[in-house]
């Protein structure tokens, strides 16, 4: 089958507990841009049990059409039935682009689906655009240059290199996209989705693993990806109890506490507050890095912050290489003093 038969930009609309994930809206926003460049539409693929009611919400954020795969086997995320759902949608509707959020679900679903439909998958993209491949035609081989390709840019090597990837000979062109990077559109109030229901049939086999138990972490209400100000602590904070001084600073600024991987590994903070390559990518207006040495895996998740303030007793800590303002000193003294000064200033 010719590649030109594949049409449209499809977005996997991740939901958990029948609540859409923010990344679904972000992908729709980006998908709309790409669809405009290609002169096509953006379609959301909604997979779950009793999820049809979520379709209008996807229209509000830009979906021209919503394909709903609704089946009791899809109540909770499991790799096999979800792979079957999405791979079947791809095989039936033949999109030219398929975007999936690079979440703990998407980074499992995406690879398995791509292997099943035999196409390439570019992981954790931070930039997507339509362009030519090769970027510059080789002299004499202008006719071989392909146009209207999805160019997928991603960091690798712990954020030290940037690669732009194309998938010129297979369809769909698939990417997982880092949450928090793409922009959702302003909601179109009252938008109604054009819904198409599709059920490829679900017959359990050995690949349908059994869920024995679901254990939810005590839900931290703050989403660090939405925070305008983050007060982030690292190993240097020293203890779980000592995060109190960071919480006090965050409170006076109306910010949120986040942390580095070391803090999660020490059990001082839950994983949903973790910033970095294996945690979340954040772009707050101000990022305080308190007692964080600045391993590149961490920096990869926060370097796009508008303003970075670092406090560390080690003046050679790599965090100072990315900080706008670096204070070399004892965080136990500086942080409370800064909180007090801000309190006094704001009280004026």
């Amino acid at each position: 089958m010719g590649l030109e038969e594949f049409k449209g930009v499809f977005v996997y609309a991740q939901q958990v507990d029948n609540k859409l994930d923010g990344v679904a809206f972000e992908l729709l926003g980006k998908g709309k841009d790409l669809a405009k460049d290609l002169g096509t539409e953006v379609t959301a693929v909604l997979v779950g049990a009793d999820v049809k009611g979520l379709a209008d919400e996807l229209a509000v954020y830009g979906a021209d059409k919503v394909i709903v795969v609704d089946d009791p086997e899809l109540k909770e995320y499991r790799t096999e039935p979800y792979t079957h759902a999405l791979a079947s949608v791809i095989n039936k509707y033949k999109p030219e682009i398929m975007l999936v959020g690079a979440t703990a679900i998407g980074r499992d679903l995406g690879p398995r689906v791509s292997a099943r439909v035999k196409t390439g998958l570019t992981a954790d993209c931070t930039l997507l655009e339509i362009g030519d491949f090769p970027l510059v035609a080789q002299p004499g081989k202008e006719a071989e240059q392909k146009h209207n390709q999805l160019l997928m840019t991603r960091p690798a090597f712990g954020g030290n290199t940037i690669a732009t990837i194309a998938c010129p000979d297979n369809r769909p062109q698939m990417a997982t996209v880092r949450p928090g990077v793409m922009q959702k559109i302003a909601p179109i109030e009252g938008a109604k989705a054009v819904v198409e229901e599709f059920n490829p049939g679900f017959t359990p086999n050995d690949k349908y693993v059994e869920i024995l138990n679901i254990v939810k972490a005590v839900k931290n209400t703050a989403n660090i990806m939405d925070a305008k100000i983050l007060v982030s602590g690292g190993r240097g904070v020293g203890s779980k109890e000592n995060f109190k001084i960071l919480e006090d600073l965050a409170e006076v600024l109306g910010g949120t506490v986040s942390c580095s991987r070391a803090v999660v590994e020490n059990g001082w903070q839950p994983v949903d507050l973790q910033v970095g390559q294996t945690g979340k990518t954040v772009r707050p207006q101000i990022y305080f890095a308190i007692g964080i040495s600045g391993a590149i895996q961490h920096v990869a998740g926060m370097e796009e912050a508008d303003l970075i303030v670092a406090v560390n007793k080690d003046e050679d800590a790599p965090i100072f290489d990315v900080a706008d303002y670096g204070l070399v000193g004892d965080l136990n003294k500086i942080v409370p003093a800064l909180t007090a000064a801000l309190k006094a200033e704001m009280g004026k």
Binding site: G110, G158, K207, D324, L342, E345
Partner: protein
């Protein structure tokens, strides 16, 4: 029980990163290590071996030098090592890599395959689930705890805000998080033994049920259009002041930037 563990030799990006004066990465100056998530997967396999009895085979794909990580794995306690290396396998993306490793594993007996969640050089987390798809096995990604129950594995699968306790029939594939455990060190006896043990080297001809068109650069659906080292934004100001001065300095900057 037979366990296959897939490991990768990667440049050490944690701490060992060196930059050129122009801000690009100095790869030549970096050391190589066993990928951390893979090492956690190996440790998990070795613990299952101690608990239930198992034969642990480590498999890697790479340059001939990747033999080093197999020796390290055997010094930790793995029983056998297989190096898949061939010029035609070079330049593989995750599709071609997973096809290659699946082709190697088809020659082996296994109840369980363990891979790391992701490698610190590519950070894709794709190869494990893709191997499972090629071998038509159940996959459990992001494992934070692994137990065996008869013919089944019971695994805690991590998500952002929860974990699922999953039960899968073996054979199956699990991708391990480095949080799973703290890997053991090599022992002096183990290091000695590792060099007594044999590493099996396989090439293209040893891969089972694999088409040439699915291997190496040629078999990779994704192609690199452009790659560059990221030039970081320069460092800002760094000051060493006593607490009072430091706070005054920062407050001044905040006012200047209209933060407060």
């Amino acid at each position: 029980m037979k366990i296959v563990v897939c490991i990768k030799q990667v440049p050490d990006t944690k701490g060992g990163v060196k930059f050129n004066p122009d801000g690009t990465l100095d790869r030549g100056a970096m050391l190589t290590i066993m990928n951390p998530d893979d090492k956690a997967g190996l440790e998990a396999a070795l613990r299952l071996k101690e608990q239930y009895g198992a034969e642990v085979t480590v498999v890697t794909m790479g340059l001939p030098k990747a033999d080093e990580v197999l020796r390290e794995a055997m010094a930790m306690g793995a029983d056998k090592g297989i190096l898949v290396t061939d010029r035609v396998l070079g330049g593989a993306d995750t599709w071609a890599t997973s096809t290659t490793i699946a082709g190697a594993i088809r020659n082996l007996e296994y109840d369980l395959i363990i891979t790391g969640r992701q490698a610190i050089d590519g950070d894709t987390a794709q190869v494990g689930p893709q191997i499972a798809e090629h071998l038509d096995l159940p996959v459990i990604s992001y494992a934070q705890d692994i137990k065996i129950d008869g013919d089944y594995v019971i695994v805690q699968r991590q998500y952002e805000d929860r974990y699922h306790e999953l039960k899968a029939k073996m054979p199956c594939l699990i991708t391990a998080l480095s949080e799973l455990n703290v890997p053991r060190y090599m022992t002096p006896g183990g290091i000695f033994d590792a060099y007594e043990k044999e590493v099996t080297v396989w090439g293209r001809a040893d891969l089972k049920d694999v088409d040439d068109s699915d291997l190496g650069l040629k078999g990779s659906p994704t192609k690199i259009a452009k790659a560059s080292d990221k030039v970081r934004k320069g460092a800002g100001e760094k000051v060493v002041l006593d607490t009072e001065e430091a706070v005054a300095y920062l407050m001044g900057k905040f006012k200047e930037k209209h933060v407060i």
